[in-house]
């Protein structure tokens, strides 16, 4: 509870962000009045039905797309285009196959003008953070899906971003690998205290990872409800409190999924 402090100092703040995709078929509102805020070092999860605009929201924060309305602030300052203060991690690792693992991690550093020696040192130390130092010289196609995602994590962290944006980064992995990466992400997070915005449509995942879980509505997306999760970490997936909380969130999410489906059906009927 922080009732008495004057408006808290947010690391990241989205205020009334709206975005409509326009095409020849007509307008397609993806976000409408989205408010999200994250305190420094906070782990915020965005949870919502498919197509509700989660990726769009992250793209807007990352500066890859522009909001039609509303503000995106980092430390109170509006963001422009993409920048190294925000790292983005995708569902696919998006590593460059023509570079070896170390050079992949160093790619962004080169773009920042970091000299070669320093680049290699930073790349190696970040590979060590994700326990892949032996794979520095390996090529990308030799890595498993989970290892690729860890390299992507190292690549994003090497740029020392203020905010880490993660778009369903573990959705394509099997359950065991995903759980291992949850633990790894949490220990990285406690070590680096990055502010993280993590998108998922897996309720359990959101509750295992997040300090706060924001439930988004069906498209056009906006925050419908907010859940705090203050269980001690690391949180086992099977803990009773977590399972109970998941039940509640699941109920809410289900009604949003239904709403999304109805919306889709209505659209199909009236093109």
């Amino acid at each position: 509870m922080t009732p008495l402090s004057p408006s808290p100092v947010w690391k990241l703040e989205l205020r009334g962000v709206s975005k409509t995709f326009r095409s020849s078929h007509g307008d397609y509102p993806a976000l409408k009045g989205l408010d999200v805020s994250a305190a420094p070092g906070e782990f915020v999860c965005l949870l919502g039905p498919s197509g509700c605009g989660k990726t769009t929201a992250l793209n807007i924060i990352a500066g890859l797309e522009q909001a039609d309305k509303g503000d995106v602030l980092i430390d109170g300052r509006p963001v422009g285009g993409p920048g190294p203060d925000r790292g983005l991690i995708f569902q696919e690792a998006a590593l460059f196959p023509w570079l070896n693992v170390r050079d992949n991690v160093a790619f962004g550093l080169a773009a920042q003008g970091v000299p070669h020696r320093e680049r290699m040192r930073l790349a190696d130390s970040h590979l060590e953070m994700v326990h892949l130092q032996e794979f520095a010289a390996a090529s990308v196609h030799q890595l498993s899906g989970g290892m690729k995602q860890r390299v992507a994590l190292a690549r994003a962290l090497a740029l020392n971003p203020q905010v880490l944006l993660m778009d369903e980064p573990f959705a394509a992995l099997d359950a065991q690998t995903r759980e291992a990466l949850h633990l790894e992400l949490q220990s990285l997070w406690s070590a680096t205290r990055k502010t993280i915005v993590f998108v998922t449509h897996n309720v359990r995942e959101a509750l295992v990872l997040g300090d706060r879980v924001l439930l988004l509505s069906a498209r056009p997306g906006h925050v419908k409800r907010e859940f705090r999760c203050e269980l001690p970490r690391p949180r086992p997936m099977e803990s009773h409190t977590l399972v109970d909380l998941a039940q509640t969130v699941m109920q809410d999410l289900r009604s949003e999924v239904l709403a999304a489906q109805q919306e889709a059906r209505r659209e199909r009927r009236s093109p």
Binding site: N59, G81, F96, F107, L159
Partner: protein, 253 residues
Amino acid sequence: MSGARRRLLFFAGLLVLWEVLVRLHLWPDYVIPSPLAVARSLVDGLVSGVLPRAILISLRRVALGYGVSLLIGLPLGLLLGRTRLLQDTLGTLVLGLQALPSICWLPLALLWFGLSETAIGFVVVMGAVLSITLSTADGVRNTPPLYLRAARTMGAHGWRLYAGVILPSALPAILSGMKLGWSFAWRSLMAAELIYITTGLGQVLTLGRELNDMTRVLSVMLVIIAIGLLTDYAVFRPAEQRVRQRWGLQGGS
């Protein structure tokens, strides 16, 4: 290994069948000579220096024409792939010209450049440059958006985005364009040398016809095939294989 053996057996069988057909005397010798006679003519041509000389001349021409095609096609393709305006204008022109067999440029080339090496080189370039340009443009245009988004969030833009992401991601397409371009260059040259009598392999081929020397015609055809296959197997296939494996476009085997 077993693939190589299968291939060897197939071609050995083909040769035997050819020899057997000839021995049955279904056709006169000057229509279908025996494989042995063709081999003899091939050796004669090689020893007498006629074939080596012609091969050298043709190879020099194709190398020159192909080199020029690369110098024009690669930069042009890179530009076309990234510039909407050029793509819609010049790109459409290139696509249209590709429908024209390159040998059709020969009359024009002769009028422009006279009976010269330049005229032949022009035909070779027109054969190779279009497919190199189009493949390069295709590769550049089809850079996975995911790569571009990842690179941009890491702060890459301008030439670094181009040289560090777009170009390497287009490399498989560029290589197959280069491979296609090479085979077009070789075919265009042979066509040009056949029609426009000059030195080179094509001329030896025409000479064979004029002398009614079927063994010579066939031996030169074999040389033309061999050179085309050799460059493919020695240069383009290994390069393509390596890139495709590295880029994760096929299971490494």
